[in-house]
C-alpha cells in the first residue's frame, strides 16, 4: 500500500505548481488553469486522508469542491470571454483599469 505521505507530497507539489503558475504567468487562462491545479492538489489530499482514515466525509468534500470548481470555471470563462471582447487581450497586466 502506498503510504499517505506520498499522496501528501504529490498534493503539495501540485499545489505549489498551481501557486507558482498563478504568480508568474500573465495569460489569464493559464492562471485559471493554475487555480484548477491548486484545487485538484487539495482534492488529492482530501481523498488520500479519506482513504487513510476510512472516513467518507473527505470524499464528500471533494465532490463539493468539484461542483464549486465547475461553477467557477463556467463563470470565470464567461468573464474571460467578456474581458477578451472588450480589451482584446488576455494579459492580466494590461487589465488594469482599477489600478491607482
Amino acid at each position: 500500500m502506498v503510504p499517505l505521505s506520498y499522496y501528501l507530497v504529490l498534493s503539495g507539489i501540485l499545489f505549489a505548481c498551481g501557486v507558482t503558475g498563478f504568480l508568474i504567468k500573465r495569460n489569464i487562462i493559464t492562471i485559471f488553469m493554475s487555480i484548477e491545479l491548486m484545487l485538484n492538489g487539495v482534492n488529492l489530499s482530501f481523498v488520500a486522508f479519506a482513504a487513510h482514515w476510512h472516513a467518507l466525509s473527505g470524499q464528500v468534500f471533494v465532490f463539493f469542491v468539484m461542483v464549486v470548481a465547475a461553477a467557477e470555471a463556467a463563470v470565470g470563462l464567461a468573464i474571460i470571454i467578456a474581458v477578451y471582447r472588450t480589451r482584446e487581450t488576455l494579459n492580466v497586466d494590461q487589465v488594469n483599469l482599477l489600478k491607482l
Binding site: V19, F22, L23, V92, D93, V95, N96, L98, K99, L100
Partner: protein, 677 residues
Amino acid sequence: MTPNLHLWLIPLLPLAGAAINGLFGKRFSRQTVSAVALSFCGAAFAWALFVAIRFSSLAVPHMERLAPWIRAGQFSADFAFYLDQLSLVMLLVVTGVGFLIHIYSVGYMWEDAGFYRFFSYLNLFMFFMLTLILANNYLLMFVGWEGVGLASYLLIGFWFVKDSAASAGKKAFIVNRIGDFGFLIGLFLLIKHFGTLTFNQLFSAIAKLSPETAGAGLLTSIALLLMVGAAGKSAQIPLYVWLPDAMEGPTPVSALIHAATMVTAGVYMVARSHVIFERAPSALTVVAIIGVLTALFAATIGVAQTDIKKVLAYSTISQLGYMFLACGVAAFSAGIFHLMTHAFFKGLLFLAAGSVIHAVGGEQDMRRMGGLRHYIPWTFWTMTIATLAIAGIPPFAGFFSKDEILWRAYQASWIYWLIGLFTAFLTSFYMFRLLFLTFFGQYRGELQASAHTAGHNPHDASAHGHGGIHESPKVMLVPLVILAVLSVVGGWVGVPGSLGGSNRFDQFLGPVFHNTTPALNSEHASAGETAPPEQQTEGPEPQTGHGTELAFTGMSVAAAALGLLLAWWLYLRNPELPDRIAASLGGFYHAVVNKYYVDELYAVLFVKPLVDGSTRILWHGVDQGMIDKAVNDSADAARELSDSVRHMQSGNLRSYAGWVAAGAACVIAYMIWVGVR
C-alpha cells in the same frame, strides 16, 4: 402667613418685553415696539408700586421662592427673591427711573434704524437689574450682576459700526471682568466657610462672628474681594476707566445704565453685604479711602473736560465715590440715600444733555454750544434744577444726601470730610461750568451761523443737515419734567434732624442696617452717644450735635455757592480767563485734560504686556507652536505613513496574489514552527 406678592413678575415682565421685541421686533412698527417695551416696563413699575403699597403689612425681610435652581451636596441656591427696605428702595428707583428713561428713549431713538433692538436690550437690562436687586442669594445676584454687564456691553456698543463704540463696549466688559473675578472669589470663600450664599442664612451666621479689629482675617478678605467687584461695576479707582468710554452709547443708555442704575449696583452690593463689611473695619477703611479718592480724582478730571457727556461721566464716578465713602464710614443708609437722589438728578442731567445734543444736531462739545437757553427753555430749566441738585444747593435733593454723607464722614475722620468738601466745591464748579458754557453766552456752533456771530470759534464744526436748534418733542420733555420734580423733592424724605426733619429715609432703612450691627461704633464714635448701646449704636446723631452739624451744613452750602460763583466769574464774566489760567498751569492742565494719562498708563502697564504676551507666547507660541503644530504634525505623520503603505495597494492583481501567497506561507511557517516546538 405672609402674602405671596409674586415678586417674580417684576423681573420677568421686562424679560418678556425683551423677548417679544428681540424676536419679532424687526417686523413691528415703531409704535408697536415702543408700546411693547413701555407696557412691560411700566407693568414692572406698577407691580413695584403695588409691592410698595403692600410693604407695610409684610414681615420684613420678605422672601419668596420661585423655583429650585442648584442643589449640590450641602449647598443650594434657588430662584428666590428677598424684599426688604433696601431692595424696595432700589426697586422703586430702578423701575421708576427706568420707566421714565424708556419713555424718553422713544423720542430720542425714533430715527434710529435699530429701534427695536434698542428697546429689546433696554428691557433685557431691566430684567437683569431687577434680578440683581431682588435676588435672595449672592449667586442669583451674580447672575443679574453679569447680566447687566452684558446689557451694558450691548448698549455701549449699540452703534457697533462705529469702531470707537465697539471698542468702548469691549473695554467696559473686560474691565468689569476684573471686578467680577474678585467678586467670584469672594463668593467662593463664602461658600467654603459658610456653606451657603443665601442672604439670611449667611448673614445670621456671620452676625455671630466678632469684628476683625486686628489684622486681616477671613471676613476682611471677603469684604475686600467683594469691594473689587463693586469697584469694577461702580467705576471706582482703579477700575473706573471704562465708564467715560461708555459714553459712546446712546444718551438714554448713559442715563439709565451708566448713571442711575447699573453703576450703583456696586453700592447696593456693598450695602447688602454690610454685615460682612461691618465686621471688617480695615476693609471698610479701604472702601472709604477708595471712595473719597475716586470722588476727588474724577471731579478734577471733570473740571477740564469739554465733551458734555464726558463731564457727566466723570461726575458720575465722583458721585459714586461719595456713595462708597458713605459705605466706608458705615453710613450705608446715607449711601443709599445719595444713590437714590443721584439716580434722579444724574438721570435727569444725562437726559437733558441728550436733549441738548439732540437740539444742536449731534454736537457734544460744549465749546460749540452756548446761549441755548433761549432755544430750548424746557431743557434749560430742568437741567438747571438738576445742576442745583448735584451741586448741593438747598433745598434740592442732592443737598440732603451729600450733606448727610459729609457729616457722617466727618464723624469718621476730618480728612474724609475735607476732601469731600473740596470735591463738593469742584462738583459745583464743573457742573455750573457745564451749565454756563452750554446755555449762557452766545451760541458758538455752526448750526445757525448766519444768525449768530460764530467768528471766535477756532474749530470747524462739520455742518449737520438738521435744521435749526429746536426743542425736543414732548415725549422727551415729560420725563425731564418728572425727574426735575423728583430732583427737587427727592431729598425731602431724608431731612436731617438738625434742619428740623427726622431723617425718615434713614429710619426707613434702619431695620436693614441696624439689626445686626456689632458694637463697632467705637471706631466711628461720635461724642455724646445717647442711644442704647446694643440696638441703636448707629441711630440718629445726638441732639447736642445739631449746632456742629448745622455749621458743617453751612460749609457744604458755602462750598457749593463758591463753586457756582467761580464758574460764573470764569465762564460768564471773563470768558477769556479760563484759557489763560489753563496756559499758566501748563503741564498740570495737560495732565488733567488727558485724564492724568491713566488710560495710557494702563495701556503700557497692562494692555500692552497682555496683548504682546498673548500674541507672542499664547498665540504664536502655544497655539500655533504647540496645539496647531501637534495637530498638523500628526496629520503629516499619518499622511507620510500611509503614503508608504499605500503602494502595497497597487491595483495589480498578481501582486495581491503574491501578498496572499506570502501570507499563507507565513501562516504555514508559523504552524510548522509551532508543530516542531
